[in-house]
């Protein structure tokens, strides 16, 4: 590969998290029964008109801002004409001459360095429905037809599959942070096509090949690597590289020439007469600014400094905005930075993934988590109890202090006299075990420990129990 330069550009489509589709009032719900989220507008019935969703415009301008694009002062839509059954009007309403944002760049970390790639443009459009092939007939589900899609077109500034994957993950994290897209590539809410060309070092762009049908960032990486090798082999053997569209075959791990005649399409773009140009006014611009959030890269740096955390810990905490928000609220209510981070990454995350829960929607509020960390920190409870309380909060929706007082045996460690009395009682009831211990049988200590722990239902720290037991036994 060293003899060649590789140029990869991406076309990323994100489904905007708007409440309704981009040109009608239908909602979108992934996996809903076919044709249940449709209306005369998105079905392209005679006489209906599209009306552009302002929230979709707002989200689009927000992404433009995050990507340092020049925002359009007068953006308009156009019709892209082609016949396909999943497109109800047989034209797609998209943007061409005057998209919401032009130019711009995006910085992300890859292979330990910061890479900056240029953005060509971002444009808002409608998605198509879905064709389902069923034996010798084809069915169409229009649930997805007309949902808001923002397309981000990069310049061919990426030079490897790894970079493309890193870009996608960083970009995905950013749009999730902004709340404009859920970033789910499996469900198709973030999709990516690529164009790739290689050429002898220093010779500039080669003949570009478009690659479609890669449904995960991992597949983008593998497909790019495959295509790099395929093209390099062609160069070496003197085979001409054809400008074409190829499909990624994830099963056989290779790209294949697309069979359709789509290549030579003349889309006959012209301005959409049903939607007037959109001119963002001050109020709109202000709403866009107000909705902007601290982006992941910036937040990571800030949190690293502010909380004195290690790289991998801050990476974990900022991986999702909801997680970073949760952590910062916990710290704001006075819990220890390191303990809280450790517990969030450890027990809490384990529990959330076991139960399949989302951090932002459980009974565990940052306040409760913070209280729990404080109880742990001042020695009121020990780690085992904290784990139990964590689980109980998720199930019962109660504050940690309430749980402790409700469960009698979950006595605070401070109740040391209670523990002493209990151990004395047990010693009196088990003379045989005491005799064994006096003869040097260490196992009998474990037996007594077990008795105490059972009686106290584990509410005391085992180390405390052991120390007390040995003390009372005079060992």
């Amino acid at each position: 590969m060293a003899a060649f330069d590789t140029f990869i550009g991406l076309e990323v489509h994100i489904h905007l998290l708007t409440k309704t589709k981009v040109f009608c009032d239908c909602a979108f719900e992934y996996g809903a029964p076919p044709n249940t989220h449709v209306c005369p507008v998105c079905l392209g019935y005679p006489g209906v008109l599209p009306t552009v969703n302002r929230e979709a415009l707002k989200f689009s301008y927000m992404v433009g801002e995050a990507l340092h694009c020049t925002p359009s002062e007068k953006t308009f839509f156009e019709r892209k004409n082609y016949f396909y059954p999943d497109m109800s009007k047989n034209y797609q309403i998209t943007q061409f001459q005057e998209p919401v944002g032009l130019g711009g760049y995006f910085e992300f970390k890859t292979q330990g360095k910061t890479k900056k790639i240029r953005i060509h443009d971002i444009h808002l459009e409608e998605d198509a429905g879905k064709m389902i092939h069923d034996g010798n007939r084809s069915l169409v589900d229009y649930n997805r037809a007309g949902t808001s899609l923002l397309e981000i077109v990069t310049e061919p500034d990426l030079s490897s599959g790894e970079e493309a994957e890193d870009f996608l993950q960083a970009f995905r994290q950013m749009v999730q942070y902004m709340g404009v897209c859920d970033g789910n590539m499996e469900e198709g809410s973030l999709r990516c096509d690529a164009n790739i060309s290689i050429n002898k070092k220093g010779k500039g762009l080669g003949t570009k090949v478009e690659i479609k049908n890669m449904n995960s960032s991992r597949n983008v990486r593998i497909a790019m690597r495959y295509e790099q090798r395929r093209q390099a082999r062609a160069k070496k053997t003197g085979t001409k590289i054809v400008q074409e569209t190829r499909l990624w075959d994830a099963e056989n791990k290779k790209t294949q020439k697309m069979r359709t005649k789509e290549a030579a399409h003349d889309y006959r773009y012209f301005p959409e007469p049903d939607i007037p140009p959109f001119i963002p006014d001050e109020q709109f611009k202000e709403a866009v600014r107000a909705a902007m959030v601290e982006l992941p890269a910036v937040r990571k740096e800030r949190m690293k400094g502010e909380y004195g955390l290690q790289n991998d810990m801050v990476d974990f905490l900022t991986a999702e905005k909801s997680r970073a928000d949760f952590y910062e609220k916990v710290i704001a209510s006075g819990a220890d930075k390191e303990t809280s981070a450790k517990w969030m990454k450890g027990e809490f995350t384990k529990l959330l993934s076991r139960e399949g829960l989302d951090i932002s929607t459980t009974n565990m509020t940052p306040q409760r988590f913070s209280d729990l960390m404080k109880l742990l920190g001042d020695g009121t409870i020990h780690a085992n109890i904290a784990k139990q309380i964590l689980e109980i909060i998720l199930e019962e929706d109660k504050d940690p202090s309430v749980i402790i007082s409700e469960r009698e045996l979950m006595r605070p460690a401070a109740d040391a006299s209670g523990l002493e009395n209990l151990i004395k009682e047990i010693i009196a009831l088990e003379p045989a075990a005491i005799a064994d211990i006096k003869e040097g049988n260490q196992k009998a200590i474990g037996f007594l420990m077990g008795k105490v722990m059972k009686e106290t239902k584990g509410s005391f720290d085992p180390a405390t129990v052991r120390a007390k037991l040995l003390e009372l036994l005079g060992i």
Binding site: N81, R268, F270
Partner: protein, 469 residues
């Protein structure tokens, strides 16, 4: 409002209503205005109305405008079996005012034509003379009003399709300002040019209907309310701009135009001759833009979701091709082909973009003219209602003849055709054209003229309401 009383007498008694239905059906066997006539279905849709509204008035709707549960054929085989699941906003507003849609009326397929002869479903004749066409594309809307079957109807005007048939049938026809009436529910032919318009037997009726259906609609983002005050007239008395040269008019039409100018003078109005050079470009500009938009607007008819589906298909491509081959008539096909041609990549600058530039120029020319005049008065069409067969106008001549009506569509301005008399047994008239949102000036002029000439009903018209106006 004698006419309102008469209509409520007719439609409120089941006996009278039966007589009405029977007479319309009999009369329409000769005229052919209706594609669907069902007053009971319409009455079930009416939702309101108060005194002084349009309560109880029947109306007909051009069959390219959606009325819930009624057919929406667009005069085309491709939608012959399609019934609408929703109502157009303009129709909804009429229903809320208590008016009753009694049926859907004939048109040139998808609004493409000037004689209603391009309807794939029915032949409509002119109620003044069955050998003549009613005009088009809103031929059914005009014929139904002229024959007294309804006091008003809705039509659509893309390049004159309300004003020209109104003129041919001797009724009033209004093409409102672009955006003044919501297009939601009007089946699209040329989106940037067309409007829902009104055909009526009196100016008062026209004004009441316009007041009811106008106004911005969230379902149509190109719809607007008049911004600010409607400008006053320039002068105490109205100043009417008239064309210095009007070539190519038939003798009767030229005469009628001259007479109308004299009548204006007799009303005390100032007459100012004007020249509008860009008028020479309106026809090619119109057909370029209209065809381009039509080529996309009509792409949705493929038999996938509704309407006709060819039985000759083996796959999706052939289904699309055969369905459109069987479902569309030749005029529609020729405009789709023309539109596809002018939008080809590499040719847009030469055709579509150039047409848009000239369109802007036309608007500027007119804005200049309106600095001097309140209204322009122009002929509607170079001929009176022409014969349906024989030495009739060819499709190409019909297109050239659209030059007087097209201007208002290209510039988005309101225009109203007004009957001014009858010559050789056929109506003649003129049209007034105003600056945007100055419909009130049109009504003012038309009312003044109505006092001089009160249009008659056609020779073939409903006896039930013959004496009442």
């Amino acid at each position: 409002m004698a006419i309102d009383t008469k209509w409520s007498e007719i439609l409120n008694s089941s006996e009278n209503k039966g007589a009405y239905i029977k007479e319309v059906q009999d009369l329409d066997d000769e005229i052919g205005a209706f594609l669907q006539f069902d007053p009971d279905l319409g009455a079930a849709l009416t939702t309101g109305g108060s005194e002084n509204s349009l309560k109880g008035l029947p109306f007909a709707v051009k069959d390219n405008i959606a009325v819930k549960d009624f057919n929406l054929t667009c005069g085309s085989k491709i939608l012959e079996t399609f019934s609408s699941p929703y109502s157009a906003t303009a129709v909804k507003r009429l229903l809320e005012a208590g008016a009753i849609p009694v049926g859907k009326v004939n048109l040139d397929e998808f609004g493409m034509g000037s004689a209603t002869t391009n309807s794939a479903l029915r032949k409509t004749v002119n109620p003044w003379n069955p050998d003549r066409v009613p005009g088009g594309s809103s031929g059914g809307s005009a014929a139904a009003v002229a024959a007294g079957m309804v006091p008003f109807s809705l039509g659509s005007d893309t390049g004159g399709s309300v004003r020209q048939p109104a003129n041919f049938c001797g009724v009033y026809g209004l093409k409102p300002t672009y955006g003044a009436v919501s297009r939601y529910g009007l089946v699209a032919y040329a989106s940037s040019l067309e409007c829902i318009g009104i055909l009526s037997e009196s100016v008062d009726m026209m004004e009441r209907v316009y007041e009811t259906i106008k106004g911005s609609d969230p379902k149509d983002q190109t719809s607007r309310d008049a911004s600010g005050e409607i400008p006053d007239l320039h002068h105490e008395t109205m100043t009417i701009g008239v064309l210095e040269s009007t070539e190519g008019l038939d003798e009767e039409v030229a005469q009628a135009y001259e007479e109308a100018i004299n009548q204006c003078k007799s009303l005390g109005w100032n007459i100012l001759p004007v020249t509008i050079d860009s008028l020479n470009y309106v026809v090619p500009v119109y057909y370029t833009i209209a065809a381009a938009e039509a080529s996309a607007n009509l792409a949705r008819y493929t038999g996938v979701r509704y309407g006709h589906r060819s039985a000759q298909s083996t796959d999706v491509q052939s289904m699309t091709r055969e369905t459109r081959e069987e479902g569309f008539g030749s005029e529609v096909k020729s405009r789709i082909i023309l539109g596809t041609y002018v939008l080809r990549s590499g040719f847009q600058d030469q055709y579509y973009v150039r047409a848009q530039k000239i369109r802007t120029r036309i608007k500027m020319d007119l804005a200049e003219v309106y600095e001097k005049v309140d209204l322009l008065m122009m002929p509607v069409f170079p001929t009176q209602a022409f014969p349906a067969t024989g030495d009739s106008l060819t499709p190409f001549q019909q297109k050239l003849a659209d030059r007087y009506t097209i201007t208002a569509n290209l510039a988005g301005l309101p225009a109203m055709s007004v009957p001014t008399g009858v010559k050789n047994g056929l109506p003649v008239g003129v049209q007034f054209m105003a600056p945007e949102f100055c419909e009130t000036h049109l009504f003012k002029a038309a009312k003044a003229y109505e006092a001089i000439y009160r249009p008659q009903r056609a020779s073939k018209s409903l006896h039930l309401i013959q004496e009442v106006r």
